[in-house]
C-alpha cells in the first residue's frame, strides 16, 4: 500500500513525491525533476506511525473483552536502531492494515451484538417463536453472567400447551456456591 496515505493518514489519490523516493528513482521518472528528501519522508512516516499507533490503541481498548482485536506487528529489528525508509514504510503499512482489521472486527462485533439485541426483543414479544433459544449477556456486549432463555412453563406440560416464556437467569453464581463446588 505504498503511497496510499497522505500527511493526515487518509486515503488520497494525490501523488505525494516526498513519500515515494523508491518510485522516483525508477527509470522513466527522471523527467519529473522531483527532489527526494528521504529524511523528510522518514519523519513523515514516523508521524504516521504515531497516529496509527494511537488509533490501534484506541480500538484495542474498545474491543477488549468483546472481540479479538488484531494488534500484533512483528519486530523489524532484533536490537533498537534507526530504521530506513523502506522499513518505516513496512511498519506504517502493517499498522494501517491492523487498524483496518481492528475496525472491521469492531464493526462485525457491533453488528453481532445488535442482531442479538433485536433477537432478545423478539423473544420477549413472541417466545413461542424462539423455542429453546438462549442468548447470553456477552452476546449483547454486556458484562457479567446471565442469559435469556426461551423455555416452556411447567416443563413438558408447558411444551404440550404452548406456554412459552423467556426466562432471565439470576446472574453470576454466588461465592458461597462456587466454594461448595470446590469442596
Amino acid at each position: 500500500m505504498d503511497g496510499r496515505l497522505d500527511a493526515g493518514g487518509h486515503l488520497t489519490p494525490r501523488l505525494h513525491f516526498l513519500k515515494m523516493p523508491a518510485l522516483l528513482r525508477k527509470p522513466g521518472f527522471d523527467g519529473l525533476d522531483a527532489g527526494v528528501d528521504e529524511r523528510g519522508a522518514r519523519l513523515e512516516l514516523r508521524r504516521q506511525i504515531a497516529r496509527l499507533e494511537a488509533e490501534l490503541g484506541a480500538r484495542f481498548g474498545d474491543g477488549f473483552g468483546h472481540t479479538e482485536i488484531p494488534h500484533r506487528i512483528d519486530a523489524l529489528a532484533a536490537a533498537p536502531r534507526v530504521l530506513d525508509l523502506g522499513e518505516l514504510e513496512t511498519v506504517r503499512d502493517r499498522l494501517a492494515d491492523r487498524v483496518a482489521e481492528a475496525e472491521r472486527a469492531l464493526v462485525e462485533r457491533q453488528r453481532f451484538e445488535d442482531e442479538n439485541r433485536n433477537l432478545v426483543e423478539k423473544m420477549f414479544a413472541a417466545p413461542q417463536d424462539f423455542k429453546w433459544v438462549r442468548v447470553s449477556r456477552q452476546d449483547l456486549g454486556l458484562h457479567g453472567c446471565g442469559h435469556w432463555h426461551s423455555k416452556p412453563r411447567l416443563g413438558p406440560i408447558g411444551m404440550l400447551m404452548g406456554w412459552w416464556r423467556v426466562k432471565v437467569s439470576s446472574g453470576c453464581p454466588l461465592a458461597g456456591r462456587l466454594a461448595a463446588v470446590e469442596r
Binding site: I49, I73, A75, A79, P80, L95
Partner: protein, 213 residues
C-alpha cells in the same frame, strides 16, 4: 526543580536526534546501598498495587506517555507487545502477580517512579560510569560487554568510554547495579511526547526513594 542532587542532561548523537527528535537522556546519581527494601518502600508498592487495575492496563497504551514509548519502540524496529515498554511490563506483572512484588533496591525505587510517571528509567553502577551519558549508535565491531558484538547502528546508552547498555535492553557487564555498588546512576530515557517535567519527576521520585533508605 530545585532539588538535590540535580539531574544531569546527557547528549544524543546529532544524526540520531535529527532522525528521532525529542530523544534525550538525563540522569541523577545517588548514594544508595542495594538490598532489601525498607518497610515504607514495600508499603508504597502495596499502595501502588491497590491503585492499579486491569481496566487501567487495557487503556494504558492510550495514555500520552506510555503511548509515546510504544510509538518510539515501533520507530526503532521493536515490537512493544514483545519487548514491552517498562511501564507496560510492570503493569502486566502487577496483574499477573496480583501486586507489585518487591525486588529490593534500587529496583523498587525505579519501579515506583516508572509506574507513577510512565517514564522509562534505568539504573547503572555510577562508580563505573565514565563521564556523561549519551545515546548514540554503535560503531562497526563495537561490543556490549558481556553480550558480544552488536550489529552496526544499534542504539545504545553509552558513557565516554563504552556502551553501558542497549537503549531499552541489556546492561553491559560491570555497569549493572550489584550488591557491592555504593553509588547508583538513575537514567531516564526521554522520547518525543514525554514532557520534561515528567522526566524530572521520575528522576526525583526514584532518587528520593533510594536516598531515603
Amino acid at each position: 526543580m530545585g532539588w538535590v542532587p540535580a539531574p544531569q542532561q546527557g547528549w544524543v548523537a546529532p544524526h540520531i536526534v535529527s532522525e528521532l527528535p525529542g530523544l534525550g537522556i538525563a540522569w541523577v546519581e545517588v548514594d544508595a546501598k542495594p538490598g532489601r527494601s525498607p518497610d515504607p518502600v514495600r508499603r508504597r508498592l502495596r499502595d501502588l498495587s491497590d491503585r492499579t487495575y486491569g481496566s487501567q492496563a487495557i487503556r494504558l497504551r492510550e495514555r500520552p506517555i506510555p503511548w509515546a514509548y510504544r510509538v518510539f519502540y515501533r520507530q526503532i524496529g521493536l515490537d512493544p507487545d514483545r519487548t514491552r515498554t517498562p511501564v507496560e511490563q510492570l503493569t502486566l506483572d502487577r496483574l499477573h502477580d496480583g501486586g507489585f512484588r518487591s525486588h529490593g533496591l534500587p529496583a523498587d525505587g525505579l519501579n515506583i517512579a516508572i509506574v507513577e510517571t510512565g517514564v522509562a528509567l534505568r539504573a547503572f553502577d555510577a562508580d563505573n560510569v565514565e563521564g556523561r551519558l549519551c545515546i548514540r549508535d554503535s560503531a562497526p565491531g563495537e561490543s556490549l560487554s558481556g553480550h558480544g558484538e552488536m550489529a552496526r547502528g544499534t542504539l545504545v546508552i553509552a558513557d565516554e568510554a563504552r556502551p553501558v547498555g542497549l537503549l531499552f535492553g541489556s546492561t553491559a557487564e560491570g555497569l549493572a547495579v550489584e550488591r557491592s555498588s555504593r553509588r547508583i546512576a538513575v537514567a531516564a530515557v526521554q522520547v518525543k511526547g514525554v514532557p520534561q517535567i515528567a522526566v524530572e519527576e521520575a528522576l526525583w521520585m526514584a532518587a528520593s526513594t533510594l536516598e531515603a533508605t
